[in-house]
């Protein structure tokens, strides 16, 4: 290996905002007053918020310094499993900042917002094509919000059928949002265990599917990075008992152009634009979680829907079976622009190739590291692979120690301790935008850490050593929460 990737250098400390500034400064150019002052009833007036007063340079330095304490995909590899931290193309940011988009009021007359409506309409078509579904709503603001939307649609479907059902089957490999969405929608999640291959068996589903079960919620590819090979049979069983199949499509990055969910028995699914379709994660959001459905579920989609009428686009409200509104307006329009730009830039061949390369990268890492880390399911994976810390247990080195140590090597750690079915899980999702060189460097780093685990376990317990702060005390943070200054 050449020079290691991680090193240290000068950063600047920066106090909390309200420890800066002086009363009377302002970092905002106050508009000229062109009307008379006009006083409001004293009774209604508050004391004014206790904010610091800063100049523009104070603000600029504050956030410039803070930014430098952070690590993003633009800094380096960020192989957080299940999060699809692919590169977010810069041109998408530019498109989303076009003045006609950023400046648009959501309640503009439709005649004055054709650009936005056309884009939304086309984008829904693209997602229909990619998922093989019939219709799509862009209103959900994130993946979990899409899940809730999907559950609400399932609820509305059964209600419309006149049969109220109380349960949803949720496999043990499900993302935490799945059971939470299920119960937020008033259903009871019924757990089901995946088999020794890490996927759902037909039998397990057949055993628990019944007439009181509204459906199943399956992540496919699942959170072990494995394709649910029995999905069609499972869908048949669920359908036979009158249930619906929900697919958590957050992992769609593995199978674009390879699998159409609509063709394999899925009734409703969400996509995470902030994963599969390259929109940046912004340190936690905003995302966008469109929901696509088959034809028989279309009547239940949220309103308004974008509809084309003789070449013009309108927002139509008149869907009596709709679940209603799930966001105040139309969801994360600004995020959708970026995903739309991505699909238009990639085109059909490159979308498929992206999935293929994402799977190639994951399998390559799995193969190269399986001698070093324990690999609980040794089979071809999809877009991510899941290891565990079992081999390191003897040295009392846990997943967390290795994760923290990776920082010193200049990598963001993978997702850790998830999925829950693998104790001490290390879930690596490189995505297709990591080059072979970068992946090789990551593999080298992990191997080096595994050696350190043997030779110098204490160093790992104290890792990271390069970051601006040492390992942080999360326990005390939770025990004595201090959530505001």
């Amino acid at each position: 290996m050449e020079e290691a990737l991680g090193t240290t250098g000068l950063l600047l400390n920066e106090p909390l905002l309200w420890k800066k500034g002086k009363k009377g400064r302002c970092g905002f150019s106050l508009p000229r007053r062109d009307v008379e002052p006009c006083s409001l009833d004293e009774e209604l007036i508050g004391e004014g918020p206790d904010f610091p007063d800063l100049s523009e340079v104070d603000v600029v330095r504050h956030y410039t310094r803070l930014a430098q304490w952070n690590f993003g995909v633009d800094t380096g590899m960020y192989p957080l499993g299940s999060c699809t931290m692919k590169y977010s193309p810069k041109t998408n940011e530019k498109q989303a900042s076009l003045p006609g988009f950023t400046g648009a009021h959501p309640l503009l007359p439709s005649g004055l917002s054709q650009g936005a409506l056309k884009m939304m309409f086309e984008f829904e078509q693209y997602l229909n094509e990619i998922t093989g579904m019939h219709a799509t709503t862009l209103q959900p603001a994130a993946g979990a919000h899409g899940e809730l939307t999907g559950m609400l649609i399932i609820y509305a479907f059964h209600k419309k059928q006149g049969s109220q059902r109380s349960k949803i089957i949720v496999p043990d490999t499900a993302h935490g949002t799945n059971p939470a969405s299920v119960s937020l929608c008033g259903f009871r999640p019924v757990p089901v265990t995946s088999n020794e291959q890490g996927i759902l068996s037909v039998e397990a589903i057949a055993e628990i599917m019944d007439q009181d079960t509204a459906g199943i919620m399956v992540t496919n590819p699942n959170t072990l990075g494995l394709f649910e090979e029995n999905i069609q049979k499972i869908a048949e069983i669920v359908h036979a008992k009158g249930g619906l199949v929900y697919c958590d499509g957050a992992n769609m990055n593995a199978v674009m152009g390879m699998v159409k969910m609509g063709d394999i028995g899925i009734d409703v699914m969400q996509l995470n634009l902030h994963k599969t379709f390259s929109t940046p994660h912004g340190g936690g959001g905003p995302g966008s979680g469109p929901v696509s459905v088959t034809k028989h579920l279309e009547p239940f989609l949220p309103v308004p829907r974008v509809v084309e009428e003789n070449g013009t686009y309108i927002l139509a409200e008149n869907y009596p079976n709709s679940i209603g509104k799930i966001s105040a307006f139309y969801g994360a329009f600004g995020v959708v622009i970026k995903a739309y730009s991505y699909i238009r830039s990639m085109g059909p061949e490159n979308l498929k190739k992206a999935s293929q390369l994402a799977v190639l990268n994951a399998n390559y890492i799995k193969e190269m590291l399986k001698g070093t880390l324990h690999l609980p399911y040794d089979r071809p994976c999809m877009h991510e692979c899941v290891f565990s810390d079992k081999h390191q247990a003897a040295q009392k080195i846990a997943t967390l120690d290795m994760a923290k140590r990776l920082m010193d090597y200049g990598f963001h750690p993978p997702t850790v301790y998830f999925p829950l079915v693998v104790p001490g899980a290390i879930m690596v999702e490189p995505t297709e935008t990591e080059s072979k060189e970068d992946i090789d460097q990551f593999i080298e780093a992990f191997k080096a850490i595994a050696s350190e685990a043997k030779e110098n376990p204490d160093m790992l317990h104290h890792a990271p050593k390069s970051c601006k702060v040492k390992r942080l005390d999360e326990v005390t943070a939770a025990r004595k929460p201090c959530l505001a200054g």
Partner: protein, 447 residues
């Protein structure tokens, strides 16, 4: 493709390691009948330059300032955003990072969100604010569900002057839960009629928006007292966060939970999203809050740092018993709000809010002078309802051609308010813009 770094040679050597012949063979675990063997029917790839042209054309097809003079508020407000905020918000360390699961590598986001939580809490007069929610409507829905969880009561009352679209989202969230939502009517002066509350003993929450959808300022103090008298939680909502630069905040008037929209605070309208759901509560209820929370802590050396905390409320730990299913939130919008508030400052926000108020009052006065009726006489912030002569719909359309958007027609939301329009004036509308509006509506009135 410039986003795909693999050369053919890379692919070949990686496939060799895997003992596989080609990319397709990587998918051996895909059952044959699950495979889609066709080509996706999507438009061919555009170059960056073609994309620029295409997107500009779409963007040019939108009616926006400064070409259009937009007097629309109703939950989405045009406010000036300093270029410094736009620049800072674009820094890729903020933009391209994930939820800060690994705090040592994410102190920038974490300190910034901790600061946001603090500023949001201070703005609202509350003790704790979450790291953000999707938008005002979902924040309100979650606030009400939270009240249900806390009180274990199964019914909530919400003012009919809460943004109509927010109420619809609340309905959607409540529909499958079996909990009941009742609406409180409004009075002639444009504020909530809370007399019905006296009859309702089993309420988990009463929710009031102030300034309300008509722009009128509600007496939260009195309404809150009414709620508390029945051991009902008082939930405040808002769509125009800037109002609290001037007005008494909900916390000082007894709000237990606040859920509203922060788009006004430095976030572009962007056709309604992404937005910023602000959710705040007293410390007492913090463990019932949905969503992420950033807390202060120390590192091994005793140095201050920040982490995501109280995760046991959340889906990834609690799964079906979580306080909510929320995972991805609207963090970058919260960051924008923090940057904006840091720029405006305590002194500035007061002045800016006053200016909004004074401009709206100017338009109100001029419209009155021109002979139109200001429907509700309660004090307002930067929005108000005006009644135009019947048939104004045509005038409204004509004004569009003159590039004036003369407010929101209320009839679709409140059928009893035919010919009533909700007008909004922020600091971005000049006296000239307002004079032009008045001149135009007057001249059309005469026709």
């Amino acid at each position: 493709m410039i986003y795909l770094p693999h050369t053919d040679e890379d692919i070949f050597s990686m496939l060799q390691v895997l003992g596989v012949d080609n990319l397709d063979d990587l998918f051996s675990t895909l059952p044959e009948d699950c495979r889609f063997n066709g080509d996706l029917n999507l438009p061919e790839a555009l170059s960056e330059w073609e994309l620029n042209d295409h997107m500009s054309t779409l963007s040019d097809n939108m009616a926006v300032s400064p070409e259009y003079k937009v007097f629309l508020g109703a939950g989405s407000y045009e406010h000036f955003i300093p270029e410094s905020v736009s620049y800072l918000l674009g820094r890729s360390e903020f933009v391209t990072s994930y939820t800060p699961y690994q705090p040592e590598m994410s102190q920038g986001t974490l300190q910034a969100i901790y600061e946001y939580q603090t500023l949001a809490a201070r703005l609202l007069g509350m003790e704790v604010a979450t790291a953000s929610h999707y938008d005002g409507a979902t924040a309100l829905a979650e606030a009400l569900l939270m009240a249900v969880r806390i009180t274990k009561r199964k019914k909530v009352a919400i003012s009919s002057l809460i943004h109509p679209l927010y109420r619809r989202v609340v309905q959607t969230y409540f529909e499958p839960t079996g909990y009941e939502v009742v609406e409180l009517p409004y009075l002639n002066n444009g504020v909530t009629d809370a007399t019905g509350l006296d009859e309702m003993d089993d309420l988990a929450a009463v929710a009031i928006q102030s300034p309300n959808f008509f722009g009128c300022i509600e007496n939260l103090q009195v309404l809150g007292q009414k709620a508390h008298d029945k051991k009902t939680l008082f939930v405040a909502s808002f769509t125009e966060a800037l109002a609290y630069g001037l007005l008494k905040n909900p916390g000082s008037q007894g709000a237990d939970i606040v859920g509203g929209e922060g788009q006004s605070l430095g976030i572009p309208r962007s056709f309604g999203g992404p937005a910023l759901g602000i959710l705040a509560s007293s410390k007492k209820h913090m463990r019932s809050l949905p969503g992420r929370l950033v807390g202060k802590t120390k590192d091994l050396d005793g140095k201050t740092g920040f982490v995501l905390t109280l995760a046991t409320r959340e889906q990834h730990i609690r799964r079906e018993k979580a306080t909510s299913n929320i995972c991805t939130n609207n963090s970058l919008c919260a960051l924008a709000a923090a940057m904006y508030l840091a720029s405006v400052g305590g002194t500035g926000i007061r002045k800016l809010a006053q200016l909004n108020h004074d401009k709206a009052e100017y338009l109100k006065k001029e419209l009155k002078k021109a002979g139109f009726t200001i429907t509700f006489d309660s004090p307002t912030f930067n929005e108000f309802v005006v009644e135009f002569p019947s048939g104004f719909e045509a005038t409204h359309k004509h004004l569009l051609e003159k590039k004036i958007i003369a407010g929101l027609c209320l009839a679709p939301y409140y059928p009893e308010l035919a010919n009533h329009y909700l007008l909004c004036v922020t600091e971005t509308r000049s006296k000239n813009d307002m004079d032009a509006l008045v001149r135009e509506v007057k001249s059309w009135k005469k026709l």
